[in-house]
């Protein structure tokens, strides 16, 4: 054996020993099983996600004043199911959730979304040595993960019927729009604030408001350009109202309402605007021949204090406003 060969043989041995060491370096010991009894226990180690969640409406599902009033402080126990649910992974993806007994004030919390029946945490990585023992769980990013609570009024089905659900460059799912990567950087994880109707900038992106003259008549158009489902979706409490008024007047005149009515409102049709759809409405009023203003408002609860004279500036939020010349 030539010295050269011996050297390279040694080198090979050395290299493989190093490789061996690298591959077989004893992994950190797995963390012991741990029972979480409150989402506040996640806070120390996941401060960022925790702060975002606290700022989200999921964290308010139990304490939200509107919910408490409508459910009679949850004396109507039918309402507990989704507003203080057992973990989604316990009942199953796409299955209905069931009510839980503990930490109800935390509403839709970390544990409800992340705890698996094997007492480990659903995440995007496997890290058996981390205290919460996360397991890569693809279903967490599935639209059917949101379905247990958000498909009773068909939001997920509406999305499935939209172009956003078609594979390809235009594909966007619930997470793309509601849980974007922090700073747009996938390595930073997803924003847990889960913006929805309470985030005006998102609602503004949902629809476009246009007005034009056709044979001198005022025609108003609203197009759903940015919601991956009906506008406004899901919650029957929501409504979006079109108003107009001659320029210079102070009182808004109702033109159209987008809304899915409550169960008992049997004489009202569902007037939500489907994804990609456009509503066109002519203003049938001589006063509309002059200069007019048109505005789209968004409302968190459907009723007006005075239904005969609704005051959207006080009781709703302005989404878009356009003007039309004579």
């Amino acid at each position: 054996m030539s010295p050269g060969r011996i050297v390279s043989a040694l080198a090979v041995v050395g290299l493989s020993a190093w490789l061996l060491l690298a591959v077989f370096r004893p992994p950190p010991p797995p963390a012991p099983p741990r029972t979480f009894t409150s989402s506040s226990e996640c806070r120390n180690c996941h401060a960022g996600a925790y702060a975002e969640w606290q700022d989200s409406w999921h964290s308010r599902a139990w304490v939200d004043a509107d919910v408490r009033t409508l459910s009679n402080d949850f004396a109507n126990t039918d309402c507990i199911d989704c507003h203080a649910p057992r973990p989604v992974f316990e009942t199953g993806i796409g299955q209905r959730v069931l009510p839980r007994e503990t930490r109800r004030v935390e509403g839709v919390d970390c544990i409800a979304c992340h705890l698996r029946p094997d007492d480990r945490i659903a995440g995007t990585i496997d890290a058996p040595s981390a205290a919460c023992r996360p397991v890569a769980t693809r279903e967490l990013a599935n639209v059917d993960f949101c379905a247990p609570c958000h498909n009773q009024h068909n939001t997920v089905d509406q999305w499935r019927a939209s172009k956003y659900a078609e594979p390809g460059p235009g594909y966007q799912d619930c997470l793309s729009c509601h849980m974007p990567y922090r700073d747009g950087d996938p390595s930073k994880g997803r924003d847990h604030r889960m913006h929805g109707g309470h985030a005006l900038e998102l609602v503004k992106r949902a629809v476009e408001l246009r007005a034009k003259r056709v044979d001198g008549n005022a025609v108003v158009e609203v197009e759903n350009v940015g919601a991956g489902h009906n506008f406004p979706t899901d919650e029957r409490s929501r409504a979006s109202d079109l108003f107009w008024r001659p320029r210079g007047e102070t009182t808004w005149r109702p033109l159209y309402r987008f809304r899915n009515p409550y169960r008992f409102e049997v004489d009202l049709p569902n007037t939500e605007l489907a994804a990609h759809a456009t509503l066109a409405r002519e203003i049938d009023d001589p006063a509309a021949a002059g200069a007019i203003e048109i505005a789209l408002f968004y409302k968190f609860s459907p009723y007006w204090t005075d239904p005969t004279a609704p005051d959207p500036e006080r009781e709703a939020v302005l989404v878009h406003r356009v003007e039309l010349e004579p």
Binding site: S38, D73, T102, R104, V105, V266, D267
Partner: protein, 480 residues
């Protein structure tokens, strides 16, 4: 060898008799089996006697109805009997007449009467469908709903009680509610008392008086002073033995099991309706619900336990099945809460056992809350250690609440401080703890009179929880 076997036998035989492990909690297609069996029984029922001949046209039926409306006494009865004899042949036309608003209302009223006389399943169904109209579309004639509720011959069709109960949930016309309640009562069900009570307190003075007088009459018939006593007795389960005097018919049992099946639906509308109807139903539903605790579908099991919980003492007969249900992990929390509401003291030791560290956290908390509802007499020792600061908050507060249920006014210590802390901690969690305090104050009698007054004065204060917690500060007695 033989010697060894003998020793082994002796060992086995002489070992202290340890209880055999119970078989695993059975999960079976209970609902599917019941439904299949009942469907067969219904199919075997003799078909209603059908008169030969074609179905009547609407105009022909109207002529006959006109004869009823236009005559009196014996002639009127004869005209009605003509319709009755036609039976199924005239039902489709009468069904159409119920929603024909183009015509004399008296004819529609007579159509209701005729259908009630015919009383075949399809005739009853026509009346029920009319009664449910406001749930599908705007109803220009609410009085027709009241009329159907009044005429419905429940005694001949106990299975329709199921749909009457649901009608109670959606009905907004007070007159109809009153007639629904009366029809149900005439057939042994007091489910209408709750609706009548709402009307009796409502803004419509005329209907309020009517509802009050109905409640008063029902109370009197049961030897009770008035509406308040009647309601308390109803919720307390005083009438369960007298409800549903006749065994439920096959169709009635089928209706109950179909509701139970609905508990597994995806759409909550059907689930909520089923929960409502089953809670309002009587003893035969309790029996069915208790068996449904073994259904293979988890939604059926959990919601069945919830329904028993909402029935409260009326569901007392389900105590043993619920105790057994504590063995099923997903069902145990709801079973425990139900046991708390049924009011049977013998559930206490089993609930106390569920507080053990080895049990899932959800179940431990549910058991502590159940003991707060039921009163923790005799199981204080299982609760006391849980007041320790190391206990997770939910369990610690619930255990304090349970312990307070056995304390007297001058006798409450750390548990009182903890319940006050729970009330102050979060307004949204306060109501059940406030209820615990209210029971404690009620038991305390005279010595607590002043505190009670101040407590209730705060009922609609915007800062109610904090101020109420302050009211309790300093009352806790140090414990040796």
């Amino acid at each position: 060898m033989r010697g060894l076997a003998g020793v082994w036998l002796c060992l086995a035989a002489c070992a202290p008799a340890s209880k055999p492990a119970p078989p695993p909690y059975a999960l079976e297609p209970v609902v599917a089996r019941e439904l299949a069996a009942l469907e067969i029984e219904v199919a075997r029922e003799p078909a209603p006697r059908v008169q030969n001949g074609p179905a009547l046209e609407l105009s022909e039926a109207r002529d006959l109805l006109g004869a009823v409306v236009g005559s009196e006494g014996k002639l009127r009865l004869a005209a009605l009997d003509d319709l009755k004899q036609l039976g199924e042949r005239v039902v489709p036309a009468l069904r159409t007449e119920l929603v024909a608003n183009d015509d004399d209302p008296a004819l529609r009223a007579a159509a209701v009467e005729a259908l009630a006389e015919i009383a075949t399943p399809s005739a009853i169904d026509a009346l029920l469908e009319r009664l449910e109209r406001a749930r599908r579309e705007a109803d220009p004639e609410p009085w027709m709903r009241a009329h159907c509720a009044w005429r419905l011959p429940l005694a001949k069709a106990d299975w329709s009680a199921d749909r009457l109960l649901l009608a109670l949930k959606y009905e907004s016309d007070y007159e109809t509610v009153i007639w629904l309640a009366r029809s149900l009562e005439a057939n042994g069900s007091l489910a209408g008392v709750v609706g009548l009570d709402v009307i009796a307190r409502g803004p419509n003075a005329e209907r309020a008086a009517e509802a009050t007088s109905v409640l008063q009459a029902w109370a009197g018939a049961r030897g009770l002073a008035g509406p308040a006593e009647l309601l308390a007795a109803y919720h307390g389960g005083a009438f369960v033995d007298r409800e549903e005097p006749n065994p439920a018919s096959v169709r009635a049992r089928l209706a109950t099991w179909k509701r139970i099946q609905s508990l597994s639906e995806w759409q909550l509308r059907g689930v909520d309706d089923a929960r409502f109807v089953l809670v309002q139903s009587g003893p035969s539903a309790v029996d069915a619900l208790a068996r449904a605790l073994h259904d293979e579908n988890r939604y059926v099991r959990v919601h069945a336990a919830q329904v028993l919980e909402r029935m409260g003492p009326r569901a007392r007969a389900a105590v043993d099945p619920l105790l057994d249900a504590l063995r099923e992990r997903g069902l145990a929390p709801q079973a425990a809460r139900a046991l708390g509401r049924l009011g049977e003291a013998r559930a206490r030791p089993a609930l106390a056992a569920e507080l053990d560290r080895s049990r899932p956290f959800e179940v431990r908390v549910a058991a502590a809350r159940a003991l707060a509802d039921l009163g923790a007499d005799g199981v204080e020792d299982s609760l006391q250690p849980l007041l320790d600061p190391a206990t997770p908050t939910d369990l610690r507060y619930a255990s304090a609440s349970a312990l307070l249920s056995v304390r007297g006014f001058g006798d409450a210590g750390a548990e009182l401080e903890l319940v006050a802390a729970a009330i102050a901690a979060n307004a949204a969690e306060a109501p059940p703890f406030e209820a615990t305090i209210e029971r404690w104050l009620a038991r305390a009698g005279e010595p607590a009179a002043e505190l009670r007054t101040r407590w209730y004065e705060l009922a609609s204060d915007p800062e109610r929880p904090r101020k109420r917690a302050e009211l309790l500060a300093g009352l806790a007695q140090p414990r040796k």
